[in-house]
């Protein structure tokens, strides 16, 4: 059965990691303040990036799915660009725009690179398209007639969107947000390029893992597992519930 094969394919490597993990060094690693800082920073920035993506990305998905305008196909493809762009190049691109000498950054005053805000921006840039594409797919599959019914009841576009469209594509938005959050949590290339790597300020878990790989591969694996564990715990805790509520039969 392909579903089980698929599951094995995704889970076996995790088993491989677990088998190899040097469990004895767990206490030492977890006691290191940098690891905990990085974990906390990762969770905070990934969540903020997801919120930012929701705020900007859901309307964008709605625009792509519901409003006919010239060049929609092109815009739809442009949105997927950060998916394809190697993240490091994405980081460079962000520097070119928001950097000290960038298009926007130069008259903006405010400096994003090397700040925690920069981490959020880099993660959102890379992760938002996941949300947009997933939500757009859900919107396209939704039954338009409910929106029509709402309109005849006097609902403005915004009310229709908020009270009808959004709840009805709930599972799609949750799926998109999960993808977005997870991608942001794992983001490495764009973050290090745009925001740099400074413990406590811009060093997220993936950056800590990468550096640990250089010096102490076992520690790197352990750090990854910690990241995994926390994110799986968050997902098990939140997502099952959201989906249960947002889903419709």
């Amino acid at each position: 059965m392909p579903a089980v094969l698929g599951l094995l394919f995704l889970v076996l490597p995790l088993v491989g990691l677990l088998v190899r993990t040097p469990w004895t060094s767990v206490p030492r690693l977890l006691a290191a303040p940098d690891s905990l800082n990085a974990l906390r920073l990762s969770l905070v920035t990934a969540t903020l990036a997801t919120v930012l993506s929701l705020v900007l990305g859901v309307p964008l998905a709605w625009l792509l799915a519901r409003v006919r305008f010239p060049g929609r196909r092109l815009v739809r493809a442009l949105v997927t660009i950060p998916l394809v762009l190697p993240p490091v190049v994405g980081g460079v691109a962000l520097l070119l725009v928001f950097g000290r000498r960038g298009l926007v950054g130069s008259w903006w005053g405010l400096s994003l690179p090397f700040t925690t805000a920069g981490v959020v921006v880099a993660e959102a840039f890379v992760a938002m398209p996941f949300l947009v594409v997933a939500v757009e797919g859900a919107l396209l599959a939704a039954d338009l007639r409910y929106e029509e019914a709402a309109v005849t009841l006097g609902a403005s576009r915004w009310t229709v969107f908020r009270r009808i469209t959004l709840p009805m594509v709930g599972p799609g938005v949750v799926a998109g947000a999960v993808l977005c959050w997870a991608r942001a949590l794992g983001e490495f290339g764009a973050t290090i390029t745009f925001a740099g790597n400074f413990p406590g300020r811009t060093q997220t878990m993936p950056l800590a893992v990468y550096l640990a790989l250089e010096s102490d591969p076992d520690a790197a694996i352990l750090l990854s597992l910690v990241l995994l564990l926390v994110s799986v715990a968050v997902l098990v805790g939140l997502r099952g519930r959201w989906i249960g509520e947002g889903g419709m039969a």
Binding site: R145, Y146, E148, A149, A150, V151, T152, L153, G154, A155, S156, R157, T159, V160, R163, I164, P167, M168, G170, M248, A249
Partner: protein, 345 residues
């Protein structure tokens, strides 16, 4: 005059072009066979389908007004209750959109639900309603917005006989005290007769007849309408009190008409005999029984012949005449029971 509209919609294999006028507080029933364009017409009035004609409501041209600002209440043929909102929130949705506060809107919604007898279902989700319950909620939801124009697409179709009478009576009451114009789509002649001040019959996208229920009932102009009101209807040429029917045969009538005419009479005016009857009825012809249907306390008999005809008789008569499909019988209609009127309006 509250609503003046011309709805023109082009579809791949279909064209709708109909002019509708509905006065303040008037109820117009839109009747017509399946696929005639009734739903399409309502959608055009509501602004949900592009209308190449024009809609004027209370003197205001609505053609550029988006649907959400038309203040038009719609009950959809398949209800379209919001699956994620509870029944009361479905009904409260409209008032909320018109700016009523949450609590007030829910209170108002509860009143509507009580009126439609669904208060106990206020907190369930629509998917656990039965078909008829859903339809009643849809009705409550549309009424709750106090629309200027109310569009009802078969609002009673899924209701059981009892509820139907009740809701029909309520709806009539409500519509009577209603300052808005109402357009009601229905397949049910009775609903149309009871609820509507005027009936508009749509066939293949065009209006074929309109008038008060009494006019329509007395003078149907198409087969569809005749069947709807339960009359036998024929077209033909009249001369000297005799009409040569297009469907074959001739009928003596009791009216001073000439030229193209319609002739109509109710099935109950048709008497059936095993032998050719001698007596007063001037219209007597031979037919063959095509079908027999019991309908409550009467039996409806379909005959082929020139012309084909439908007769209502008593069960006793059926037993006596041994009416079975294939049986030859004689049909008789008194000229005084027929109603003849010009085909040109």
């Amino acid at each position: 005059m509250s609503l003046r509209a011309r709805v023109v919609v082009e579809r791949p294999r279909f064209r709708l072009d109909a002019a509708l006028e509905v006065a303040d507080g008037e109820v117009v029933a839109l009747l017509g066979p399946n696929g005639a364009g009734k739903t399409t017409a309502l959608r055009a009035l509501a602004g949900l389908t592009q209308n190449r004609g024009s809609v004027v409501l209370d003197g205001e041209v609505l053609d550029r007004v988006p649907p959400e600002r038309r203040r038009v209440g719609v009950v959809f043929q398949d209800y379209l209750l919001f699956p994620h909102l509870s029944v009361v929130d479905n009904v409260a949705f409209g008032p909320r959109c018109r700016g009523t506060g949450r609590a007030a809107a829910r209170r108002e919604a509860m009143e509507w639900l009580e009126r439609t007898g669904l208060a106990e279902y206020a907190d369930v989700k629509p998917r656990s309603l039965s078909g008829g319950q859903a339809q009643r909620v849809a009705l409550a939801r549309a009424l709750a917005v106090h629309p200027r124009l109310l569009l009802l697409d078969e609002p009673l179709a899924a209701l059981d006989a009892g509820t139907r009478l009740e809701i029909r009576a309520r709806l009539r009451q409500h519509l009577a005290g209603f300052e808005a114009a109402t357009v009601l789509v229905t397949h049910d002649a009775l609903d149309a007769m009871v609820l509507a001040d005027r009936i508009v019959v749509l066939e293949r996208g065009a209006i074929v007849q309109e008038g008060t229920p009494a006019e329509i009932t007395r003078r149907p102009r198409t087969d569809y309408v005749a069947r709807l009101v339960g009359l036998n209807l024929y077209r033909g040429r009249a001369a000297d009190g005799v009409v040569e029917l297009a469907a074959g045969g001739r009928l003596s009538v009791d009216a001073p008409v000439t030229g193209e005419v319609f002739v109509a009479f109710p099935p109950s005016a048709v008497a059936l005999y095993a032998q050719r009857p001698e007596g007063s009825p001037r219209n007597v012809w031979r037919g063959t029984v095509m079908g027999v249907e019991r309908q409550g306390d009467r039996v409806r008999v379909e005959l082929s012949g020139a012309p084909p005809v439908v007769a209502d008789v008593t069960p006793a008569a059926v037993a006596e005449l041994e009416l079975l499909a294939g049986q030859p019988v004689w049909a008789a209609v008194k000229a005084t029971e027929t109603h003849a009127y010009p085909a040109q309006v």
